[in-house]
Amino acid sequence: MTRNTNKIEFLLLSFILLFMLFAPFLADQNPRDIAPQKRLQPPSSQHWMGTDEFGRDVFSRTAHGGRTSLLIGLAVISITILVGTSVGALCGWNRSIDPYIMRIFDGWMAFPEIILAISLAAVWGAGQYVIIFAIAFAYTPRMARVARGAVLNVKSRDFVEAVRALGAKDLYALLRHVLPNSLAPVVVQATYMFAAAILAEAALSFLGVGIQPPAPSWGGMISEARDYIPVAPWLVLFPGGAMFIAVLALNLMGDKLQDWLDPYQEG
């Protein structure tokens, strides 16, 4: 691919990030304000993305919903990076605990992620923190796997042997030399997980166990809009399009980071 595509995803991503940070200021209408006399209006200069079945401003709802999605995604990857990398790195470093923890992760990962997240969110009761916990719980073992593989790989390199020959203590060698050199795959994985977490939150909200209406969320908006598609397609197209672009940008970014950070792998 050409160098131009390099810029596209950065542009897309920074545009989305800025949009989400500042959109609530641009969208001055309250996302929960109901105006029955203005229901199902097509996009206009007053309502850039039209209005929904309660006359609420779709632009404002898309912007606020996106902000929630983004924050949940960020929280999820922060937890998975922190917990997953620590546990994974320990497993890669200390071979005596490794087989036990890996067997646990194998069983844990036998649950399809989205199924695990939906069930947890359902049983624990919907709420922002529960959603974050549920999605992070589903993705942590996968992150641990990636970190473990990276640590195992770096551990066998010559410079680690050199550091240890120079008398570096175990923990020092791990934290100061091995871990920083193992972070590339973790960063790549985190980017993909960010995208996956946004999709998972949307699926949860779509099914009714995520963000609860009337609070705006992309998944919830699409779920509510399904009955109105023939008369008001903008109700699905705008939140759906926003989500698609956000997730696509993150996935593109993941691909690009992978090519960048892993010069040995062709393709």
Binding site: M1, R103, I104, D106, G107, W108, A110, F111, P112, E113, I114, I115, L116, I118, S119, L120, A122, V123, W124, G125, A195, L199, A202, A203, F206, L207, G208, V209, G219, I222, S223, R226, I229, P230, P233, V236, G240, M243, F244, V247, L248, N251, L252, D255, Q265, E266, G267
Partner: protein, 314 residues
């Protein structure tokens, strides 16, 4: 070979044990009191206590786990709180639509995804490759419920080619069942295509860069037979691995696609149970999904021996 299969089978045991523990604790370590949720706000203390005893929730947690595990091993997943039938019956009743949907979705995904991924790798950095990358990236970036919603509104509502939702079994309407299956299967198929194409592409690319491929080309073996005899055979193990891993997305996908299309399968059974907090059914369906996943990947692990002769001697 026999030893290899035995080793794989034994390795599945701890995995299944963790699956059981996780499924149990997900539905048993909960904030709030499920009993009060079930009996409602107006129940008397006696009714609460009675329901608690009926569900066995008055026992300490480890004992409950032991009793539960005993029942599960015997194939008893408990009784649904709403359906008035054992969870296993409910699952068996709803198995057919899920199997049909999952198989046709995965079939479409393999049919489209693996050739697409292979073609992309063969024409690395050419137009086909770029097209495949874009298509598969788009596929993994659209959530299944949005894809389903869009397909329904175009081919169901606008064009009116296919039913908007619902399901008819083959025994009921014969070949007409396909008609109901097209849109849901297409939703799943396109998602699986995206995953499979992406992973197949990188698996084939990796093999294409190996020395033996260059050697084969250099000694004058025609391109197609290099592809068929050397590249694809060696890419088979990673591709089969991907096939197994993609089942996780497929099983998760059936939960969502079945609820969007109102298909009476195990996925919509699970989602309905979730919405009304039917704990035994939630537990049963997630255990079922994880069990299927472990089973499929066990079969795939064993099938490696067929693709990779080195494994047979171990």
């Amino acid at each position: 070979m026999g030893q290899y299969v035995l080793k794989r089978l034994l390795a599945a045991i701890p995995v299944l044990a963790v699956v059981a523990v996780t499924a149990f604790f997900i539905t048993n370590v909960t904030p709030g009191d499920p009993v009060r949720l079930i009996v409602g706000d107006f129940a008397t203390e006696a009714e609460v206590a009675q329901m608690r005893a009926k569900l066995g929730l008055d026992q300490p947690l480890p004992i409950r786990f032991g009793l539960w595990l005993q029942r599960v091993v015997r194939g008893d997943l408990g009784t649904s709180l709403f359906l008035q039938m054992p969870v296993t019956h409910a699952l068996v009743q709803r198995l057919e639509p899920t199997i049909l949907l999952a198989l046709s979705g995965q079939f479409l995904g393999v049919l489209l995804g693996i050739p697409l991924g292979t073609a992309a790798a063969m024409h690395h950095r050419k137009l086909i490759d770029a097209g495949a990358i874009v298509a598969s990236l788009a596929g993994i970036s659209i959530p299944s419920f949005l894809m389903a919603t869009l397909l329904v509104s175009v081919f169901g509502v606008q064009m009116g080619w296919f039913p908007v939702a619902g399901y008819r079994s083959f025994s009921e309407v014969g070949f007409g069942a396909v008609y109901y299956l097209v849109l849901p299967a297409l939703t799943l198929g396109l998602m699986q295509m995206a995953i499979l194409a992406r992973m197949t592409r990188s698996a084939v690319l990796e093999v294409l860069h190996q020395d033996f491929v260059r050697t084969a080309r250099a000694k004058g073996v025609p391109r197609t037979s290099v592809m068929l005899k050397h590249v694809l055979r060696n890419a088979a193990v990673p591709i089969v691995t991907v096939f197994g891993l993609s089942f996780a997305a497929l099983l998760g996908g059936t939960w969502i696609v079945e609820s969007v299309f109102a298909i009476p399968g195990t996925g919509s059974l699970a989602v309905t149970a979730i919405l009304r907090r039917d704990y035994p059914v939630i537990q049963g369906t997630i255990l079922f999904a994880a069990g299927i996943y472990v089973f499929i990947n066990l079969i795939i692990d064993i099938s490696y021996a067929a693709f990779d002769p080195r494994l047979r001697d171990r």
